[in-house]
Symmetry: C2
Subunit: 337 residues, 2 copies
DNA sequence: TTGAAAGCGGTACCAG
DNA sequence: CTGGTACCGCTTTCAA
């Protein structure tokens, strides 16, 4: 006794189309895929197309790629932390560029899984390529992916991983430029804001290291300044500023810089007189402050360029992994330093 | 004559695991899925697990869901325009919440496809549910999805679509609050910034309509102010301000508001004396300006709440579509209005 | 020009 | 407790 309460539409398959058109499934496949090797008469083609339209037939991607033994899916983990406009624009451009090359980009919501654990989940989808921002994927993860038929693994982050192509985003350079700039402006006691928010230390630590490196062998010092992204915490930090004796600060990025800048001014400190401030990312909004915020402009690779790398790698999976240095960092001096 | 230049690792299948463990594919499946209905001896289980580990076996999601006739994939189109921190945080929360309910969230890079065209592409993946932000999906698209076995279609946007659940984000309300606020502050000639950037008019138009509605039946007027997100264009707009006679502006969101605010001040106009400015989104950075930016705080639904809606809908696909009003808009008055 | 059939990788029923 | 096997939807030889 089956009580069917709700008549869910039975999803039409190519067999249904074939039946309706009075042909075989093979013919349906030929017609709908415009197979070049076989000639199908025009009347038949029309009947098939008509039947497909009438039934609302949509091919089943899983079945197709199961049969084909491969797909054109490029998988990236979805960012688990809110991501700035810079990186967001980069992703969009990349998706578009890969779309032009007939790949389908899919961002996988890794819901809690980390690094090599996540790699297993990604591998289940049998993508043709995987793009992994940040660190977190180890050589083991790369192996899992490759063994599952992934033809190209590309990491975009601070370091390279064995077996994967790498787009090195050298955040040290960002800190280095900032540190050098502040030093050249005569600053010697330099604070470096370290966001307290989780997930950002992958970027903040290299940036700090870069500052340290720029200052190595000089009489200048770099001091870590933990900061939560709240007005209260910025006020607290600014309140202790005079006693700290710091005469400059590299504020991780423009948002933290703006936050701190305002707090410093509220404490009666003069920027850049008493303390020079520089951010990073070159956000539009930084230009609107008084004084206009100096910043480290960051140049990401073009989406097109990365898309081409992926395509190359997919076509020749056995080639040596490419390693590119892709993060350009330039100081844009405005009024705050 | 096959010249194999590169020994690509042959992806292990459950058959390989079975062979290595000396059991059948069925047994492998039982063991690896912890099938409750069948008892497998502990030694066998160990042999199977060991073999799977050794081969680096990863199950093939497509094959599995092909056989099962369904998946737990929730598909959303990836945003094609850079998205603010508000919405980004919402997506993250949603992904996490759906992950807790054992769904896999996938953002599909629709690379150029629009609305109902895109629906067909999504349907190929046979997701169990589809979440569509914005307008653009019509009833036809919903039908395509449902006929392809999608059990829940949820739109988050300005209006409802036949057959789909709707989380109504009433951007009119944002404009309405802003308009009413400015009116109550005694302003009568109100400008409304309309971003020139593509893709934003889905939001900006309702917001404008909301302002108009708030002003209906009063002696106040709303004037459209096209604005590109550049300093030059803001300067141009500010340069013509005095002759426009406007005494207030609702600037679409906080970013455009900040841009315009600075430009107005550079023109020697007093904010809020000569012109009141209000934005929207309640960005942290707006609080840092002088004067602090008034704004319309927007409350999005909690990810958990939406995840539960999805789960309900998936469990009972035949239920009446739910329609919820989910966008809370509240004026946060600071110093610029 | 079209059809029959094998098989992609897994799952689940039924026999043993 | 375990193995054989049919089948999910689609593509692609091979024959007719």
């Amino acid at each position: 006794m089956r009580t069917v309460m709700t008549q869910l539409p039975n999803t039409p398959t190519s067999a249904d189309v074939a039946r309706l058109a009075g042909v075989s499934r093979a013919t349906v496949s030929y017609v709908l895929n415009n197979a070049g090797t076989v000639r199908i008469s025009e009347p038949t083609r029309r009947r098939v197309r008509e039947a497909a339209r009438e039934l609302g037939y949509v091919p089943h991607a899983a079945a197709r790629s199961l049969r084909a033994g491969h797909s054109r899916m490029v998988l990236m983990p979805a960012p688990s932390i809110p991501v700035g406009p810079l990186y967001g624009a980069f992703i969009n451009e990349l998706q578009w560029a890969l779309g032009r090359l007939d790949y389908t980009v899919v961002q996988y919501g890794s819901g809690g899984l980390e690094g090599d654990e996540a790699a297993r989940a990604w591998a289940e989808l049998r993508p043709v390529a995987v793009l992994v921002p940040g660190a977190g994927l180890g050589p083991a993860g790369v192996q899992v992916l490759k063994r599952s038929g992934v033809r190209a693994v590309v990491t975009l982050g601070p370091g390279r991983v064995d077996g994967a192509h790498a787009l090195l985003m050298d955040h040290d350079a960002v800190g280095h430029r900032a540190g050098r700039h502040l030093y050249e402006r005569g600053r010697r006691r330099i604070g470096v804001v370290m966001p307290a928010e989780a997930g950002l230390d992958a970027f903040s630590r290299p940036r700090l290291a870069g500052v340290r490196q720029a200052l190595r062998g000089t009489d200048a010092t770099a001091t870590e300044l933990p900061l939560r992204y709240t007005e209260e915490d910025a006020g607290r930090l600014a309140g202790r500023w005079r006693e700290s004796g710091l005469d400059a600060v590299f504020a991780y990025n423009d948002e933290y810089a703006m936050l701190l800048l305002r707090a410093l001014q509220d404490e009666g400190l003069d920027v850049p007189g008493d303390v020079a401030v520089i951010g990073a990312d070159d956000l539009m909004l930084g230009r609107l402050l008084r004084p206009r915020l100096s910043t480290v402009h960051i140049e990401l690779p073009s989406g097109r360029c990365l898309a081409e790398l992926v395509d190359r790698a997919v076509r020749d999976p056995a080639a040596e992994p490419e390693v590119h240095q892709v993060l350009g960092a330039t100081v844009v001096r405005r009024e705050s330093s």
